[in-house]
Amino acid sequence: MIELIQEYGPAYLYSDGAGLSGLAMTLWLFIVTMVVGFLLSLPLALARVSRTLWLRWPVEVYTFVFRGTPLYIQLLICYTGLYGLEVVRDNAMLDQFFRNALNCTLLAFVLNTCAYTVEIFAGAIRNIPHGEIEAAQAYGLHGWRLNLFVILPAALRRSLPAYSNELILMLHATSLAFTATIADILKVARDANAATFLTFQAFGIAALLYMLLSFALVGGFRLAERRWMRFLVPARG
């Protein structure tokens, strides 16, 4: 056990000598996916609840497809499937993008988490009390101002609990990255297992690291909820 930690400790945490690995790689995957997925999901959520059919419908199909299929298949399509197409290989830009395993992985993760997040935010937007929106309109807010200053902040606060769940699931989903040869925590654990045969310890360390990350995330969101959802807590005494 001690030799395992001595030999693979740095690889589990930040570097395997060839570059970023382990915890640092998992965090990098998580943060990029979270930020890009979040930014993409805001306009898509507004489109999802739009009254215009040609805005709403494509988003509906997108979330239906990406929430109805396993992430593993989406990752395989991005990583091995698309690169098999000649169109992709002949286009210099696409070729360069899909040749990089990290790009493919991030693409699959972003598309996947974005689909779930869109539904969460869209649900929250639908549940905003009408009075809040009417009051904003009475104050003269319309169009993008209404969306940006009233609807999105109100919806985002209310979707914090569901969104935190989705982020934890996404953190867990990043462990799939090793199938695309990305050196995340699980890849290091597999390498350590293959080299030392200390199966339980090798995967146990990985499990422990993921556990710590999950608990940190849960704690962070608890603080966020206390701050941004205070107005929803019934007043006491």
Partner: protein, 241 residues
């Protein structure tokens, strides 16, 4: 069928003889998902009653189970349990003086997935049991029903109403998780699609077919759960929209 595709010049769109393989893979996925579901539902009900029990010896391990399992990615647990299950089993058989036996990947897959999702179903059922008004159970006790009758006639029909939305979600997550077992070497739908894709050099096409099969299963499950929800909600006024 193949002739039709050849004559129309759409040869690349036929299954090229891989139909039976894909069908086998689908059957494996469905079997795995359903058996794991059965195991995790059983574990979920047991876990929920343990978590709500008045006895500390039951409450503490159940809480530990749900907290630990739910904080670790399912893929990590699948690899951890799959690879160590056999090792532990070897130790156990040696200790008891039994014959060595090898656990096959399918059984290991069912046990692993069932054990993991049992933790999610535990939380699901716990919430549902707590949502049933306490007066209902008190009334059942007052009518002289014993524990089993109380569960079967009063608690279960009512907790299902609260549990169903979560059950549906968890079932879909479980179903999609079965795609991960191809990583530990089980010949499920994903594996079949990958094999067909490698042989024909048309990976994308077969992966999309596999995706469509999952989409079909998830859509059908959604229908079924809508139906069940309506059934367990009979007699309850729907909120006006």
């Amino acid at each position: 069928m193949n002739n039709f595709f050849q004559s129309t010049g759409l040869h690349a769109l036929s299954l090229q003889g891989f139909g039976p393989l894909l069908l086998q893979g689908t059957w494996m996925t469905v079997k795995l998902a359903l058996l794991s579901l059965a195991l995790s539902l059983a574990l979920g009900l047991l876990g929920a009653s343990a978590k709500l029990s008045r006895l500390r010896v039951l409450r503490v391990p159940a809480t530990l189970y749900t907290t630990l399992i739910r904080s670790v990615p399912d893929l990590v647990l699948i690899l951890l349990i799959f690879y160590t299950l056999q090792l532990w089993l070897n130790d156990l058989t040696e200790l008891l003086g039994w014959d060595y036996f090898e656990i096959d990947p399918f059984t290991a897959g069912v046990i692993t997935l069932g054990f993991i999702y049992g933790a999610y179903f535990t939380e699901n059922f716990r919430g549902a049991i707590l949502s049933v008004p306490a007066g209902q159970l008190e009334a059942a006790t007052a009518y002289g029903l014993n524990r089993i009758q109380r569960f079967r006639l009063v608690l279960f029909p009512q907790l299902m109403r609260f549990a169903l939305p979560g059950l549906g979600n968890n079932w879909l997550v479980l179903l999609k998780s079965t795609a991960l077992v191809s990583i530990i070497g089980l010949a499920d739908l994903v594996k079949a699609a990958q094999n067909a894709g490698k042989t024909t050099n048309n990976t994308l096409y077969f992966l999309i077919i596999a995706g469509l099969v999952y989409l079909l299963i998830t859509t059908l499950s959604n229908r079924l759960f809508k139906h069940l929800e309506r059934r367990y909600n009979t007699g309850i006024k729907e909120l006006a929209r």
